[in-house]
Symmetry: C2
Subunit: 202 residues, 2 copies
């Protein structure tokens, strides 16, 4: 079914054109007209794929979320458990061009979602999708018996999630103030602080 | 000099009208025309105070930052040190209407600042102004001798700042997923985790 593939491909091209406009000019420039122009389509052709601007923005944000999860799933993580967890958590941090674009798009969508209920609903889905990665890290620490007996899993999940998103946003907005080295130190220190002393002594 | 006072008052009214539009309709609706209308002014009269939209947005964001710092400075903090620190840190969290508006405006400005160098520069100033509050909390913990000898002040500053901003953003975007009670537990737990055991045993 080559027709179907082309259809999906075209939608991805349109979504990527939307990202480009958001990153370079701001979300307020992401109009149907501007996006059609950037994707080399007529407004009519674009409307064939997305009837409304809201539908288009939703698809574009969904694609960001899918890409992040695909990248996390395809990654080959090797090494000691704490190092692997550190690498997984660094997938949230906008260190390279792709992750920076994704995070800029996410920030623009988040701001916009405050006044757009449809986007807010999707934002909620993305929030919980990414939270699942954090839960997996915490669960892994527990199953490895790295954490003390009185470990508060729910509190530690929210603490780690807020910490990682906070670092990601600080680094996106102030890359010169919060270096990669400092973020590495913070994440390593935090993961160690969750572990029992005997695990660290090994 | 009543003339001067009126001038400043008018600028504040315009900035607050700008916030209202950003919160209710999104930053892309914060045009000079719409803001003039919301502030009950002609476009010409508004241009008397702010020549460009960028100037107007800068002033509006600066006012958010000033309000946050004024509120922190005017607060009467009483009680045990850890409880006072918890209260200071909660000033960052959008729990009431004022803080929610400030944070929504901040998020919209932050997204916009990615494509506007003037806003980015102001954003950097706000980042460092608020970081100073975090430094004060960490310094206070040190001067009280609550922390262990091998305390890494710089890492702990970035960790606490990222944690608090992460909680604030999560609560702003997902108030139903991250309750006030959970944030209280996270912040209390984090502050305690920075202290020596003997301080907690007291």
């Amino acid at each position: 079914m080559p027709k179907k593939v082309d259809h999906e491909k075209r939608k991805i091209i349109i979504a990527e054109a939307t990202w480009k406009i958001i990153v370079e000019e701001g979300i307020e420039q992401a109009t149907v007209r501007n996006i059609a122009h950037a994707a080399d389509l007529s407004v009519g052709a674009l409307r064939h794929y997305f009837t409304t601007q809201s539908e288009l923005l939703l698809y574009s944000m969904q694609l960001v979320s899918d890409r992040v999860r695909e990248r996390m799933a395809s990654q080959q993580y090797d090494g000691p458990p704490l190092q692997v967890m550190e690498e997984v958590l660094f997938e949230f941090i906008p260190l390279d061009k792709d992750r920076k674009i994704e995070m800029e798009v996410w920030l623009s969508f988040s701001a916009r979602s405050l006044v757009d209920p449809d986007l807010m609903q999707l934002n909620q889905k993305v929030y919980h999708d990414l939270r699942r990665v954090i839960i997996a890290v915490i669960d892994h620490l527990i199953s490895l018996q790295f954490v003390p007996d009185q470990f508060a899993a729910e509190i530690e999940t929210e603490r780690l999630y807020a910490l990682i998103d906070g670092l990601a946003i600080h680094h996106l907005l102030q890359p010169d103030s919060l270096s990669k080295e400092m973020m590495t130190s913070v994440i390593q220190h935090h993961l160690k602080s969750l572990c029992k002393q005997e695990v660290l002594d090994k």
